[in-house]
C-alpha cells in the first residue's frame, strides 16, 4: 500500500518519459529503453503506468472520503436524533438506494464529461447512501445503550453526545468501510475510464486498458500492454482488501474484549 502511495507521489520523477509524448516507435517490445514497451502511438507504457497510479489512487480515496464522511454524518444524525428527522432521512435513503448506481453514473457521465472528478463526487454521494444505512443501524443500536441514556441524564448536549459518545463508537466501522470503499471506487474509476469515459488529458490505468481494447492490442496478444495495468490494479486492490479484512475483527468490540471477558465471567 505504502509502495503505491510512494509511487504515486514520485511518479513524475520516476517516469522516464512523458506518458503523452510519443517517445518511440509504435508497439515496441519491452526493452531497456521502454521497460514495458510502447503502445500503438509509441507512448511509453511504463511511464503511463507510474503516472496512472496517481489518478487512480486519487479517484479511489476521494470517492471513499466523500462517501464515508457524508454517510457517517447522515447516519449519525438520522440514527441519533430519531423521530421525524430520522423518518425523512431513512425514507429518502430507502428510495434512493433502489436506484442502480452504475447505470446512473453512465447516464450522468455523458453530461458531466470529461469531468471524471465530478463523477467521482457523484459516486461518493451515491456510495454514502449505503454507508449511511449501515451507520444508522449501528447508531440506532447504540442509542438504546445505557451509556447514551446516562449521557443524556448528565445533561450533555446532543452534539456533545454525538461527538464524544456515538462517533468514537462508530469510527472503526467507518474506517473499515472507508478502506473497502476506496478499493471499490478505484476499481470503478478504472472501469469507467475503461469504458472510455475518462478524461483524455489524464492518464490512468483504465484508460490504458481502454486503449488496449480499442487499439487492438488485445487481439494481437501484446501481453506487455495490458498485463502491467491489470497486475498493478490487482495488487492495489488486494492490498486494500487485505488491510480491510484484517481490521474487520477490530470492528466488533466483543472480539476485542473477548479475552478480557474471560476473567470477568466463566
Amino acid at each position: 500500500m505504502l509502495l503505491y502511495l510512494l509511487v504515486a507521489l514520485l511518479a513524475s520523477w520516476l517516469a522516464p518519459y512523458d506518458p503523452l509524448e510519443i517517445s518511440g516507435s509504435p508497439c515496441e517490445s519491452p526493452g531497456p529503453d521502454h521497460l514495458f514497451g510502447t503502445n500503438d502511438f509509441g507512448q511509453d507504457l511504463f511511464s503511463m503506468l507510474l503516472l496512472g497510479s496517481r489518478a487512480t489512487l486519487l479517484f479511489g480515496f476521494l470517492g471513499a472520503c466523500i462517501s464515508a464522511g457524508l454517510g457517517t454524518g447522515l447516519g449519525v444524525f438520522s440514527g441519533f436524533l430519531g423521530g421525524r428527522t430520522d423518518r425523512v432521512i431513512s425514507g429518502t435513503l430507502d428510495v434512493l438506494m433502489t436506484i442502480p448506481q452504475l447505470p446512473l453514473l453512465l447516464v450522468l457521465s455523458i453530461y458531466l464529461r470529461p469531468g471524471l472528478y465530478l463523477l467521482c463526487g457523484v459516486m461518493g454521494l451515491l456510495g454514502s447512501l449505503t454507508q449511511a444505512r449501515i451507520i444508522r443501524a449501528k447508531v440506532l443500536s447504540l442509542s438504546t445503550e445505557n451509556f447514551v441514556y446516562a449521557a443524556k441524564g448528565l445533561g450533555l448536549s446532543d452534539f456533545h453526545i454525538m461527538f464524544r459518545y456515538i462517533l468514537p463508537s462508530v469510527f472503526p466501522l467507518t474506517f473499515v468501510k472507508f478502506l473497502f470503499g476506496a478499493q471499490h471506487y478505484m476499481l470503478l474509476g478504472v472501469g469507467l475510464s475503461f469504458l472510455g469515459l475518462g478524461d483524455p488529458e489524464i492518464v490512468d490505468w483504465g484508460q490504458m486498458l481502454h486503449q488496449v481494447y480499442s487499439g487492438g492490442g488485445f487481439a494481437l496478444g501484446l501481453w506487455n500492454w495490458f498485463l502491467p495495468p491489470c497486475f498493478a490494479m490487482v495488487g492495489l486492490s488486494f492490498s486494500l482488501s487485505l488491510l480491510g479484512y484484517s481490521l474487520e475483527p477490530w470492528l466488533s468490540p466483543q472480539l476485542r474484549h473477548e479475552k478480557q471477558a474471560f476473567f470477568e465471567c466463566d
Binding site: T98, I110, V234
Partner: protein, 327 residues
C-alpha cells in the same frame, strides 16, 4: 402464508418500489430537459439548420415541447408507462423494443450466474464458517479474498487470454443470435462470461455467509443442541444453516441485481450481444435516450430483486413476521 404476513406490508413495499421507479423516471426527465447541452436543443438546432422554422415548430408541437413543463412531464410519464420510451439516435428504433430484445440475452448470462454465485458463495461460506480454523477454511478465505480483489474486467481479460487466446479452447465471444443456433454453441459462448460474472460475485456472498455462520455458531442454541446430543450434521442443517442464511439473503438478492451493472464490463469484453454491450455502444455514440432506457430497466430489475428479498424475509423469519403483524 402470504396472507399471514399481511397485505399492508406487501402494499407498502410495492409502494416504495413504485416511488423509487417514479423517482428514476423524474430524474431522467429532468436530465433530459434541463441540463445544458440537452439533446432536444441539439436536435432541434440541427434540424433548424436545414428545415424551415414552421417544420421545427410543428415538430416541437408533435413531441410536445411547446407545452408547459408539468404537462411535458405528464406526457413523458404516461409515455413511459405505455411503453413509449423514445427512439434511439443510433439505431433509429424504439428504445423499448431494442432493450427488450437485448435484455433476453443479458438474462441468459445473469440467471445462471446469479444462481451459481449464490449457491457457491453460500455453500463455501457456510462450509468455511462451520470448519472455522481448519486449513480448508484458511485456504478458501485467502483465495476468495484475492478473487474478490480482482476487478471483473481483469478476470474477463485473463479468461479470454488463457482459454481463447492461448489454449484456443473457447471462442473469443461475439455471440450472434441466429435462429436455430444449437445449444452447444450457446453454451460454449456463454461459458466464459457466466463464469467470470460468477467469479466476481462469489467472494462478497462468501464473506457475508462465513461471518454470519461464525456468529450463529457462537449462539447458545447451538451449544444447547450439542448438549442434547444432536449429531453435527443435524445441528448444521437444522440450526446453524437456516439462521445464518437469513442475514445474507437480502444482500445476495441485491448482489445479483448489481451483477447487472457488472455485466456492462463483461459483455463488452466478451462482445456478448446483451444490454451491457448495448450500453457500451450507447456510451460511445452518446445515445442518450437509449442510456436512459437502460437505466430505467436496471432500476426496475433492482426494485424487483429488492421486493423479492423483502417478501421472502418474513416467510422465513418468524420474528420479522410478528413485527409486521404488530404494525
Amino acid at each position: 402464508m402470504v396472507l399471514e404476513i399481511g397485505n399492508r406490508y406487501i402494499l407498502r413495499r410495492f409502494f416504495s418500489g413504485l416511488l423509487a421507479f417514479l423517482l428514476s423516471i423524474t430524474l431522467t426527465f429532468f436530465l433530459l430537459r434541463s441540463l445544458p447541452g440537452d439533446y432536444m436543443t441539439d436536435l432541434l438546432l440541427e434540424i433548424g439548420r436545414y428545415a424551415p422554422p414552421e417544420l421545427v415548430a410543428s415538430f416541437k408541437h408533435e413531441v410536445g415541447l411547446d407545452l408547459p413543463l408539468p404537462e411535458q412531464y405528464l406526457l413523458y410519464l404516461t409515455g413511459i408507462l405505455k411503453g413509449n420510451w423514445g427512439h434511439s439516435f443510433e439505431y433509429g428504433l424504439p428504445v423499448f423494443s431494442l432493450i427488450r430484445e437485448k435484455l433476453y440475452w443479458t438474462l441468459v448470462l445473469l440467471l445462471p450466474s446469479s444462481l451459481l454465485s449464490a449457491g457457491l458463495g453460500m455453500g463455501f461460506g457456510a462450509y468455511s464458517g462451520w470448519k472455522n480454523g481448519s486449513k480448508t477454511d484458511a485456504f478458501l478465505l485467502h483465495s476468495l479474498v484475492f478473487v474478490g480483489a480482482v476487478p471483473s474486467y481483469c478476470w474477463g481479460f485473463a479468461g479470454l487470454f488463457i482459454f481463447s487466446f492461448r489454449l484456443g479452447l473457447l471462442p473469443f465471444g461475439g455471440y450472434v443470435s441466429l435462429p436455430g443456433t444449437e445449444p452447444a454453441g450457446l453454451f460454449r459462448h456463454a461459458l466464459l462470461p457466466v463464469l467470470t460474472l460468477t467469479l466476481c460475485s462469489v467472494p462478497g456472498i462468501y464473506y457475508l455467509m462465513r461471518n454470519s455462520m461464525l456468529d450463529t455458531l457462537g449462539e447458545d442454541y447451538i451449544l444447547a443442541a450439542r448438549a442434547r446430543g444432536f449429531s453435527e450434521s443435524r445441528i448444521l442443517f437444522q440450526h446453524a444453516l437456516p439462521n445464518s442464511i437469513l442475514p445474507v439473503l437480502t444482500m445476495t438478492s441485491l448482489h445479483c441485481a448489481h451483477m447487472l451493472a457488472g455485466s456492462v464490463f463483461i459483455e463488452t469484453i466478451f462482445a456478448w450481444p446483451g444490454l451491457g454491450l448495448l450500453t457500451y455502444s450507447a456510451l460511445e455514440t452518446h445515445d442518450l435516450p437509449l442510456l436512459q432506457g437502460i437505466f430505467l430497466v436496471d432500476t426496475l430489475l433492482i426494485i424487483i430483486a429488492n421486493l423479492t428479498a423483502d417478501l421472502l424475509y418474513p416467510l422465513i423469519d418468524p420474528r420479522i413476521r410478528s413485527r409486521i403483524r404488530g404494525e
